[in-house]
Amino acid sequence: MSQAPDLPLWAALLVSLLVVAGAGVAFLGSLGLVRLRSFYSRVHAPSLGATLGAGCILIASMICFSVLRSRPMVHELLISLFVTITTPVTLMLLARAALYRDHAEGRTNVPPLPKRRPEGAGPGEGTT
């Protein structure tokens, strides 16, 4: 952080605004984990931090280091790409595990799981 004083005022303002906004959005997402009632609703909350929250902070990082090193620094794009394609995998796994558990416990307020076709009945019924 020793480089921070070198940042011109406009950049410092923009960067701090974006960082605070991103942190705020991520915080709201975490708050959702506490406030929403059902498990399936709570799975939606972390995606706030993973999209807009992470986006704001990564843009702030791009602006900050591009200004400090006076050349474009865009490798944060890779972070956003990887976060975008990996977060859904986790969330989908969680939701499907929850659905499976609810079925195993015999709850009726969840939609039915698709029936698996018997072995040898054509190509496997892949579920994505």
Partner: protein, 166 residues
């Protein structure tokens, strides 16, 4: 010519993508980094052969740009929508529920992209897809009008994805 190229370099697009990723990560385009990145990308492209992926056919770059822009706008606006639901209080998710959508798309790549789009967008969550019937089960945080969500998925995303992948 093309066949010779794919015998030496099996997945040229993947090779270029991996090379670009390597150079971006190292933030340099010096000859050494290009050489090293090319080696890594070469290994990556060849290890992909062992996985035997279905060939991808990407078409309509304009549809891709439209789709990317739509997703960007929707992710942005649904962030605010979900934030509002969270701030509404303990009863905020009273409209949450499951719904099913009948998809016409069969391309695996298209479905994978759609699942990422839907799950990444706060407020919608891809739960299950049954390929024999083409039924998608998803969980929606603000399920007031099921028709509207169906229209959003089918017209806003699925049509473009089918143009790109099928």
């Amino acid at each position: 010519m093309n066949r010779i190229l794919t015998r030496i370099l099996p997945h040229p697009k993947l090779f270029l993508a991996l090379l670009a990723m390597w150079l971006l990560m190292n933030q340099s385009v010096s000859p050494g980094q290009i050489l090293f990145g090319a080696l890594v990308a070469f290994g990556g492209a060849w290890s992909m052969v062992a996985l035997q992926p279905e060939p991808v056919r990407l078409r309509r770059p304009r549809a891709m740009i439209t789709l990317a822009w739509r997703v960007f706008l929707d992710v942005f606006s649904s962030n605010f929508a979900v934030a509002r639901i969270i701030l509404r209080g303990r009863d905020g998710d009273r409209n949450a529920g499951f719904m099913t959508v009948q998809l016409d798309m069969t391309s695996h790549y298209g479905l994978a992209v759609l699942s990422i789009i839907l799950t990444c967008t706060p407020g919608t969550l891809w739960v299950n897809y049954t390929s024999s019937t083409g039924t998608l089960l998803l969980h929606v945080l603000d399920l007031v009008d099921e028709e509207e969500w169906t229209r959003l998925i089918k017209e806003r995303y699925e049509r473009l994805l089918m143009e790109i992948f099928e």
